[in-house]
């Protein structure tokens, strides 16, 4: 069974903040919410700096109106 990269968006409230928090490879930084909402867009934006984002698992949650995106690198085959 094929595993999907995209995790369900947990929304306890609507996103009100213009900036989202991205958590990837032990780093945390701010990004425009517009860029963080869509997986494809997020991958395109982060690809130059984090090559692992291509096959990573993306999880979204909203806390106090702020979108928090957690990107977890998935283990790949050797040589990938």
């Amino acid at each position: 069974m094929e595993q999907t990269n995209q995790a369900a968006v947990i929304t306890d409230s609507a996103v009100t903040e213009t900036k989202a928090t991205i958590k990837i490879e032990g780093q945390e930084f701010e990004l425009e919410t517009a860029l963080a909402q869509d997986d494809k867009m997020l991958k395109t934006v982060l690809q130059p700096h984090y090559s692992s984002v291509e096959n990573a698992q993306i999880t979204r949650e909203v806390k106090n109106g702020k979108l928090i995106v957690t990107i977890v690198k998935r283990a790949q085959h050797k040589g990938a």
């Binding site: 780093q27 930084f29 425009e32 934006v45 130059p48």
Partner: protein, 350 residues
């Protein structure tokens, strides 16, 4: 030596035939020069040589044809030149001031023609010779031949130096000129390593400092597709140095403008912001590193505490007899226990 008959076979391996060919060329040249109405000029001579070659219809291998033709025409032109130079030099040099220089240069010119059968160069030289009777101009023409491979600056220097030669008409000046050329050549050779040095200075240090101007800054521009019925185009500008998280910003530029022009101020703004934020990023990183080192160090401090406690305990036991008025240990100096630390106490106890 016999003249080679027309239509005879010539091959390069047969030296005798080649010598005969040369002899034939010389004889034809002598005959041509002695005929009335023949103008002994380079262009006419080369044309005549070709006509002779075609008329003689020598047989030779296709691969050797060019070389054999060159031998024939070269020999023909050479023998004509031998007959020619005295009259031309006298025409060129009406004054007795610079005959040596001119003859030297004409001989160099002849050598160049021999090597390449210089048809084109000769045309230029002949036309210049006919047009200019002045000795300065003659020298400049031969100078062009000599310095065809030099750059413009060197050529200027050469012209200047020849003006000096003309004015002073001294052979030492020509020597100076030659030394100038060699100097300029050597200076050119010196400049090459400098360029290499400049190119070599692009190497990056293994560990770059955390300063905007002294580290590699990676800036990425991503132009997002233009949305329909929108006059603007969105672009993502991201800046990053070291292993810090990138600073990504979304900007909007008017699609009608030239993109580079529209993006330039946005890029400047983003870079300036990153430059100002970089010290804070560095500070955060330092704090994180300190926190990590602190997490690792507590284990060591606990160990030292436990050691000090174990050492301190015997001290207490050693002191307690004093307080109880033991005879042997009462002579010991009174220890200022209140001011002592645990370590000092342990040292004294030992």
């Amino acid at each position: 030596m016999e003249i080679l008959n027309s239509g005879s076979f010539i091959n390069l391996e047969n030296q005798e035939k080649i010598e005969q060919l040369k002899y034939t060329a010389r004889e034809l040249a002598n005959a041509a020069s002695s005929t009335a109405g023949f103008t002994n000029e380079e262009e006419a001579a080369s044309k005549l040589a070709l006509e002779f070659w075609q008329g003689l219809e020598y047989m030779c291998r296709e691969s050797e044809r060019g070389a054999i033709q060159n031998i024939f025409t070269g020999e023909f032109l050479e023998s004509l030149r031998e007959l020619r130079p005295a009259s031309i030099v006298t025409e060129i040099t009406p004054t007795d001031e610079t005959p040596e220089i001119v003859t030297e240069q004409t001989s160099q010119k002849v050598k160049a023609e021999d090597e390449f059968l210089g048809v084109l160069e000769d045309e230029h030289q002949e036309t210049d010779l006919a047009a200019n009777t002045d000795s300065i101009q003659e020298i400049s023409v031969s100078e062009e031949v000599l310095t065809s491979t030099k750059n413009d600056s060197i050529e200027n220097q050469q012209i200047e130096s020849f003006e000096v030669v003309e004015n002073e008409s001294d052979s030492t000046q020509s020597e100076q000129y030659i030394s100038q050329i060699t100097d300029t050549d050597s200076s050119d050779q010196e400049t090459e390593p400098k360029e290499i040095e400049v190119a070599g200075s692009l190497s990056l240090p293994e560990k770059e400092p955390y300063q905007f101007d002294k580290c590699t800054v990676t800036a990425t521009i991503q132009l997002l597709p233009v949305i329909e019925n929108s006059a603007n185009r969105k672009a993502v500008l991201s800046v990053k140095t070291h292993d810090f998280a990138p600073q990504i910003s979304l900007v909007e530029v008017s699609a009608g403008k030239e993109l580079t022009v529209a993006l330039a101020p946005e890029i400047e703004k983003v870079l300036a912001q990153y430059k100002s934020d970089l010290p804070f990023k560095v500070m955060d990183k330092m704090k994180q590193e300190k926190a990590v080192t602190k997490r690792n160090t507590p284990k060591v401090s606990i160990e030292t505490k436990s050691i000090s406690q174990t050492v301190a305990k015997p001290k207490e036991t050693a002191i307690t007899p004093n307080t109880h008025g033991a005879t042997a240990q009462t002579n010991l100096a009174p220890t200022p226990q209140t001011a002592e630390t645990g370590m000092q106490g342990s040292l004294f106890a030992i």
